[in-house]
């Protein structure tokens, strides 16, 4: 199960790349594997104002639709339009194929998230 050292992680298996007050968000290798082949991604609207726990987007496999939640509050400033044509790119490279970028309204929320080690431990404990 692949993870990256420079990211933050959530219990819902999302990753965040934080640069000053912006966070680029995607789903982890664990999440893409659990979903299976992704056939459709619903992206958020640019400009959407979201609170922690709101639905950021939806990743659909053949069998089911899975909500992706935003782990932070803020405004969506960009979305990865390429996923409209090749949603399966997330399966191939979950850390390169981001879903949305947000301007953070409460950067302190980042303190509640996990680093790579904590996330790997979390995944291990979930697997038992």
């Amino acid at each position: 199960m692949e993870t990256r050292p420079n990211l933050l992680y959530t219990k819902d298996h999302e990753w965040l790349l934080v640069e000053s007050d912006q966070a680029t968000i995607g789903i982890t290798d664990h999440a893409q594997n659990a979903l299976g082949a992704i056939v459709f991604v619903e992206l958020p609207r640019v400009g959407a104002v979201l609170k922690t726990g709101d639905t950021l987007g939806v990743a659909e496999s053949v069998k089911a639709a899975s909500d992706i939640y935003t782990p932070v509050s803020g405004t969506v400033i960009a979305v990865n339009e390429a996923l409209n044509d090749t949603p399966e790119a997330i399966n191939d490279s979950p850390y390169e194929n981001w879903i949305a970028r947000m301007e953070l309204s409460a950067p302190d929320q980042l303190n509640d998230l996990m680093d790579e080690d904590a996330y790997r431990n979390f995944c291990e404990s979930e697997a038992i």
């Binding site: 299976g36 082949a37 056939v39 459709f40 053949v62 069998k63 639709a65």
Partner: protein
Amino acid sequence: MRQTPIHDRHKALGGRMIEFGGWSMPVQYTDIVREHQAVRTAAGLFDVSHMGELRVSGTGTLEALQRVVSNDLSKARIGQAVYSPMCAEDGGTVDDLLLYRLGEDDWLLVVNASNTEADLAWLRSCVGDRVAVVDRSAETALLAIQGPAAEKILQPFTETDLSKIRPFRFVSHVLLHGICPSGHFQCAALVSRTGYTGEDGFEIYLDPERAVNLWDALLAAGQAHGLLPCGLGARDTLRLEAALPLYGHELSRQINPLEAGLDRFVKLEKSAFIGRQALLDYQALPASRQRRLIGLELIDRGIARSGCPVQFGGQPVGHVTSGGPSPTLQKNIALALVSADAATPGTPSEKPEFIAVVRDRPLQARAVPLPFYQRPRNTAVTGQPAT
């Protein structure tokens, strides 16, 4: 959860297991789309041992079964399988099943896994005082090999000429033998040319003790032909493309077989059967008070799944019963149960006229004729399903 005789193999092959009708079953081994395409282009092997098998026999069985199912069984020969809905007094569907005529008054009924107990109780209450209804599910394993290469893969295992078994016909005692990892094996099986994928193929009913041997042997022999083990995920995408009903979705106690488009399996001219009067009354209703199953192709991006509201001309007219991506057509498709005056059977519209509401967003869709996919018929195996 119950396990089929093949359970260990599913896990060894990397099967993602889920609970289905009380059974631990594989949804997929590798990738649903890959397994689906294998069935359409080569072959797929399915463990469907969770299905129920009920033996109904004794003098008067034909008459007894005729009163319980909507299709006409009287012309079925020994060696022929008949597909039929089975209805309640109000016309709602109790189950849809295959009835195999093993003998003059000896039938094997194959029912949906999730309905086995209910069907057993239902049949016993309807006919149990006249004929014997025995649950043989625990003694029956069922493997399905489906796809254009199915016959080619299965033939080396038997001297029975499989090319002589026409669609919806079967041979009761086919001697199958071959080599599997534990050595030489042989077993007697009922082999029918039936399936739930829209492709040519066979369903093999056999002793659970031998099922694993046959599973192993078929996978090994089929490898060179592109055979893949396939799970319930591909089973569902395949049957959806072929517009075959799934009980609980296109059929239920609240959905009668006429609404599901199974008119040709409902012989209202037959003498009395349970639900006949209700279905006659239903047929007499105006179109605005009837429902019909239609096929939809999504035009806007998105997948309309079971339960999505459907609109026509700005009005709510029904809901999606099953929907998802079609790997063969490369589109998102759906079966929807809608008001009969919105359904336009036989006259597909090019213009998008329907809306499927997905997560509160309206997606344009067009009605298309069913089935979504029909396999190209070759001359080797022809014939319509027996009715």
